[in-house]
C-alpha cells in the first residue's frame, strides 16, 4: 500500500495503526484471561498458531475470510489446552504458557513442511483485502483510512466490545469477581471453572486474530519467526494498561508507534546501526515496564488455581 503521494505524518499514523492491531488483539486476549484469574503467557504461541492456520485456511479455500475463521478456531483450541492444564489440572500457569509457546513454534514449523512441502515459510495465499476504495470516498480522513486493513477496524471495534462486556454486563461483573475473589463468586452460585474456561478460550480467539493480522493482513504468507515476540509485547501492553481494555490499547499504540517510528527513522540517515532501530520498540517496552508503569494492580487471584471445597 506504499503510496508516494501521502504525507509522512499520515503514513506514520497509518503504520502505527497497522502495527498496533496485532498487539491490541493479543493484549485484549490477555486482559480477558487475566481478569478471570488465569495468567496466559502462551499468547505468543497462540498468535503463531493463529497466523499459520489463517494462511492454511486461505490456501485451502482461496478465501481469506475462511483463513480468519481457521485462525480463530485454532487459537481457541490451543488456548483450551492451556485452560485444561491450568484450570482443571491446576498446573503452574507460567509453565503451561511457556510450553505452549515452544509447542507452537515447533508445530507450525512441522506443518509448513507437511502441508506446503517447503521449509521456513508457506506459499503466498489470498490475503484479506484493504477496504481502500470504500474508505477513500470518506472526506478528510479518507486517505488515512484507506491505508488501513480490515483487521484495524475489527480491533478498534473489539476494544469497545470487550470494555462494554467487562464493565457493563453481568458476565463482565462475574469475570472480574472470579479474578478477584473466586471463592466469593463460588458462594454466590457462579461457576468459577466455567467462567475461567470461557475467558481463556476467548483469549485464544483474540490472540488467534492477532496472529492472522500478521499473516493474512500485513503479508500474504506465514514465515517462521514472524510473530517475533509480539505476544510478549502484548502482555507488556496489558500490564502497562493496568489490565484494562482501553489502557492496554493505548499501550499497544505506544509500542506500535515506536515500531513505526523505527521504520521511518531508518530513512533519516542517522549514524546508528540498523539493530539500534530494531531494538527501539523492545527498549521502550522494557522502559515502560520498569520505570513508567508506576503502580499497576493485577487481579487479586491472577495466576492462582481455584480449588473448590478446599479447607
Amino acid at each position: 500500500m506504499a503510496n508516494g503521494s501521502i504525507p509522512v505524518v499520515v503514513a506514520l499514523l497509518a503504520a502505527t495503526f497497522r502495527l498496533a492491531t496485532p498487539l491490541i488483539f493479543a493484549a485484549l486476549g490477555g486482559v480477558i484471561s487475566e481478569r478471570s484469574g488465569v495468567v496466559n503467557i502462551g499468547l505468543e504461541g497462540i498468535m503463531i498458531v493463529g497466523a499459520f492456520f489463517a494462511v492454511y485456511g486461505s490456501s485451502l479455500t482461496g478465501n481469506p475470510w475462511v483463513g480468519l475463521l481457521f485462525a480463530v478456531v485454532s487459537g481457541a483450541l490451543v488456548a483450551a489446552i492451556h485452560a485444561v492444564l491450568s484450570i482443571h489440572l491446576k498446573a503452574d500457569q507460567t509453565v503451561s504458557g511457556v510450553a505452549i509457546n515452544l509447542f507452537a513454534g515447533a508445530l507450525t514449523s512441522f506443518l509448513i513442511f507437511k502441508l506446503f512441502g517447503r521449509q521456513g515459510q508457506t506459499d503466498g495465499v489470498a490475503a484479506l483485502p484493504y477496504p481502500t476504495e470504500t474508505m477513500a470516498k470518506i472526506p478528510v480522513i479518507g486517505p488515512f483510512l484507506a491505508e488501513l486493513n480490515w483487521f484495524v477496524f475489527m480491533a478498534i471495534i473489539l476494544v469497545f466490545v470487550v470494555h462494554y462486556v467487562l464493565y457493563y454486563t453481568p458476565l463482565g461483573l462475574r469475570i472480574r469477581a472470579v479474578g478477584e475473589h473466586p471463592k466469593a463468586a463460588d458462594t454466590l452460585g457462579i461457576n468459577v471453572y466455567k467462567i475461567r474456561y470461557l475467558c481463556v478460550i476467548m483469549s485464544g480467539v483474540f490472540a488467534g486474530l492477532g496472529g492472522a493480522t500478521l499473516s493474512i493482513g500485513v503479508m500474504n504468507l506465514f514465515r517462521e519467526g514472524m510473530v517475533s515476540g509480539r505476544g510478549f509485547i502484548a502482555l507488556a501492553a496489558m500490564i502497562f494498561g493496568n489490565w484494562k481494555p482501553f489502557g492496554a490499547t493505548a499501550a499497544s499504540f505506544l509500542f506500535a508507534f515506536a515500531q513505526a517510528f523505527e521504520i521511518l527513522a531508518q530513512k533519516f540517515g542517522w549514524a546508528l546501526p540498523t539493530e539500534a532501530y530494531l531494538a527501539f520498540p523492545y527498549i521502550l517496552t522494557m522502559l515502560a515496564l520498569a520505570g513508567f508503569v508506576g503502580k499497576t494492580t493485577p487481579p487479586a487471584a491472577d495466576g492462582v488455581p481455584y480449588n473448590k471445597g478446599e479447607r
Binding site: 457493563y168 454486563t169 453481568p170 461483573l173 462475574r174 463460588d186 452460585g189 461457576n191 471445597g309 479447607r311
Partner: protein, 506 residues
C-alpha cells in the same frame, strides 16, 4: 413449630479427620439456633454442607420437609439458604451494590441495570435500618459495615434461612449489640437463623436453642433458657473450664520495651501513628485497647521491624532497635504472635515442623552451616505440639490442615519457646475457642510471672480487662490514656476508645 431444616446422619471425612460424624441437626422456623463448639469441632463443615460448598459422605438433608440434594451454593440459594462466612466473601474493589447483585444481577437488555441494583440495595438497607452507601467500595468501609453487606447479600437473594459463621469475631462491643438487634428483627420477619460461635456470652444473649458439637459429634441440643454459661462451656470442651483468668499481683521490674514518640504511615501513606509513647516492664502485661484501625497494627509493625517509623525510637532493654530488621529484633529478645496468623504467623503450605522453627531456622541445633537438621527440627516440633496440646495427626501435615485454634496454639508455642524477654501478642485469641483461649491466657500470665514483658493488643475488651495489669487506650494513632487495670471499667474504656476523655476528679 415447623422444621425448616433437618440434617440427618451427616458424615464428612477429610483426609485424616472425621469432621462430622453422624450429625443430626434441626432448625425451627423463627428461631435463632446456635451451633456451639470448639474450633475444629466441625460446625463450619456442617454449615458448608448445608450451603452446598461441601458434599457429605453420608446423610440426608431436608428443607421445609422436602428431601434435597444441595450440590452447590446455587442450589442452596434457590432453597432460600443464605450464608455469611467468617472470612467475608466480598470482592474488595467492587462497590457495595456490585457485591450484592453479583450472580443475580438485574438486567436491562444485555446490560446490568446498575441504577436498579443501587436502588434495590438502598431499599433493602433502609428496610433493615442499615446505614450503607451502595456506591461505596468495600475496601473503604469498616468491617462492621462489610458484615452488613454480607447479610444484605443473603437477603437480596431471598434467604429465609440465614447462617452466620462467627459473626462477632471482628466486631466492636457496640457493633455486636447492634447485630443482636438486627438478628432479632430478622426473626420477627419470620426468618430462621443459625449462628456459629464459640462465645458463650453471645450464646446466652442471642439464641433460643443451642446445639453443642464436639470433635465432629453432636453432644446435645438444649434450650438457652434452661442452661448457663458454665454448663455450656463444659459440654463444649468436655471438661470443667475455668472462665476467669487467675492471676496474682504483677511485680513489674525493669523497662523492657520503650517506645518513644513514634509516628508512622499506614499502607496508604496516611499518618497512622502520631507520636506514641509507651513502656512495658518485665513481669507485667500491658494491654492496648482500641477500636480496630486506630494504629494498633502499625504500632506492632514498627516494634517488630516490619514497618519503618517516620519519627521516634524503639528501645528493647535500652538498646535502640529502631528500623532494625525483624531478625535483629527477634535476636534482641522479642517474640511475636501476629494478629493475622495466616499472613504472618504461619506458612500455610509448610509442614508443622517447618513452621516450628521459623525465625530460629538458621540457628543450632536446627541448622548447621547450610544444612538443616530435620531430625532435631521434628523433635522440636513434637515438643511444641505436646506442650501446647496442639490437635494434629502428626507434625508432618501442612499448617493449613489445622483449625484456627490449633494454629494459634502452635504459633504461641513457637514464640514462647524462643524464650523472649518481650512477647507481643496481637489478638492472640481472635476467632478461637474457649479451650484454646483459656490455655493461651493461662500461658501468657505464666510467662508474665516468669518475668517476661507482655504487650497485648486485642479488640476484645473482656480479654484486655482479664489479662492486663495496665491498659493503654489507643485512638487515632495516639495513646490517649493509660489506666490501671484494677480500677478501669468497660464504660471508661468505651469512652476513651471512642475518642472521649475522662473527667478527672481533682
Amino acid at each position: 413449630m415447623q422444621k425448616v431444616v433437618e440434617m440427618k446422619g451427616i458424615t464428612k471425612v477429610f483426609p485424616g479427620v472425621k469432621a462430622n460424624d453422624d450429625v443430626n441437626f434441626e432448625l425451627l422456623k423463627g428461631e435463632i439456633h446456635v451451633l456451639l463448639g470448639e474450633n475444629g469441632a466441625g460446625k463450619t463443615t456442617l454449615m458448608n454442607i448445608l450451603y452446598g460448598l461441601y458434599q457429605p459422605d453420608a446423610g440426608e438433608i431436608y428443607v421445609n420437609g422436602q428431601k434435597v440434594n444441595i450440590k452447590s451454593p446455587g442450589d442452596a440459594i434457590k432453597l432460600g439458604i443464605g450464608m455469611v462466612h467468617q472470612h467475608f466473601m466480598l470482592v474488595h474493589n467492587f462497590t457495595v451494590a456490585e457485591n450484592i447483585v453479583l450472580g443475580s444481577e438485574p438486567k436491562k437488555g444485555i446490560k446490568i441495570d446498575m441504577q436498579k441494583a443501587i436502588k434495590d440495595t438502598k431499599e433493602l438497607a433502609d428496610r433493615y435500618g442499615f446505614k450503607i452507601d451502595p456506591n461505596a467500595v468495600i475496601e473503604d468501609i469498616t468491617v462492621g459495615q462489610q458484615q452488613k453487606v454480607e447479610i444484605l447479600k443473603a437477603l437480596y437473594r431471598g434467604a429465609d434461612i440465614l447462617i452466620l459463621d462467627e459473626p462477632t469475631a471482628v466486631l466492636t462491643p457496640q457493633e455486636i449489640e447492634e447485630l443482636g438487634v438486627i438478628l432479632k428483627n430478622l426473626v420477627k420477619e419470620g426468618k430462621s437463623i443459625i449462628l456459629i460461635t464459640h462465645k458463650l456470652k453471645e450464646v446466652m444473649a442471642m439464641s433460643d436453642r443451642v446445639t453443642i458439637v464436639r470433635r465432629g459429634k453432636v453432644i446435645d441440643t438444649v434450650y438457652t433458657k434452661d442452661t448457663n454459661i458454665d454448663e455450656l462451656a463444659e459440654m463444649m470442651v468436655g471438661r470443667k473450664v475455668n472462665l476467669v483468668v487467675q492471676k496474682d499481683e504483677a511485680k513489674p521490674g525493669k523497662v523492657v520495651l520503650k517506645v518513644e514518640n513514634i509516628s508512622a504511615l499506614d499502607h496508604r501513606k496516611l499518618p497512622a501513628l502520631k507520636g506514641v509513647n509507651l513502656e512495658v516492664r518485665a513481669g507485667e502485661i500491658v494491654g492496648i485497647a482500641g477500636v480496630d484501625g486506630n494504629g494498633q497494627t502499625e504500632l506492632i509493625e514498627v516494634i517488630t521491624g516490619l514497618r519503618k517509623p517516620t519519627e521516634g525510637r524503639v528501645y528493647i532493654n535500652d538498646k535502640d532497635v529502631t528500623g532494625k530488621t525483624p531478625r535483629d529484633i527477634i535476636e534482641a529478645g522479642v517474640g511475636h504472635i501476629p494478629e493475622d496468623r495466616h499472613k504472618r504467623g504461619l506458612v500455610l503450605k509448610y509442614s508443622l515442623y517447618e513452621n516450628a522453627v521459623l525465625g530460629n531456622h538458621y540457628k543450632l541445633p536446627f541448622a548447621k552451616g547450610i544444612m538443616m537438621n530435620y531430625n532435631k527440627i521434628k523433635e522440636y516440633a513434637r515438643k511444641l505440639i505436646d506442650e501446647f496440646d496442639v490437635r494434629t495427626p502428626n507434625e508432618e501435615v501442612f499448617a493449613s490442615a489445622l483449625s484456627g485454634g490449633n494454629q494459634q496454639k502452635f504459633i504461641a508455642a513457637r514464640e514462647i519457646n524462643k524464650d523472649p524477654e518481650l512477647i507481643i501478642a496481637a489478638q492472640p485469641t481472635r476467632g478461637i475457642d474457649v479451650g484454646a483461649i483459656e490455655y493461651i491466657h493461662k500461658r501468657l500470665v505464666e510467662e508474665r510471672d516468669k518475668g517476661r514483658a507482655i504487650l497485648l493488643v486485642s479488640l476484645e475488651l473482656d480479654e484486655i480487662l482479664a489479662l492486663s495489669d495496665r491498659i493503654a487506650v489507643i485512638y487515632d494513632g495516639q495513646i490517649v490514656d493509660i489506666l490501671d487495670a484494677k480500677s478501669a471499667t468497660e464504660h471508661e474504656l468505651g469512652i476513651l476508645m471512642a475518642g472521649g476523655t475522662l473527667k478527672k476528679q481533682a
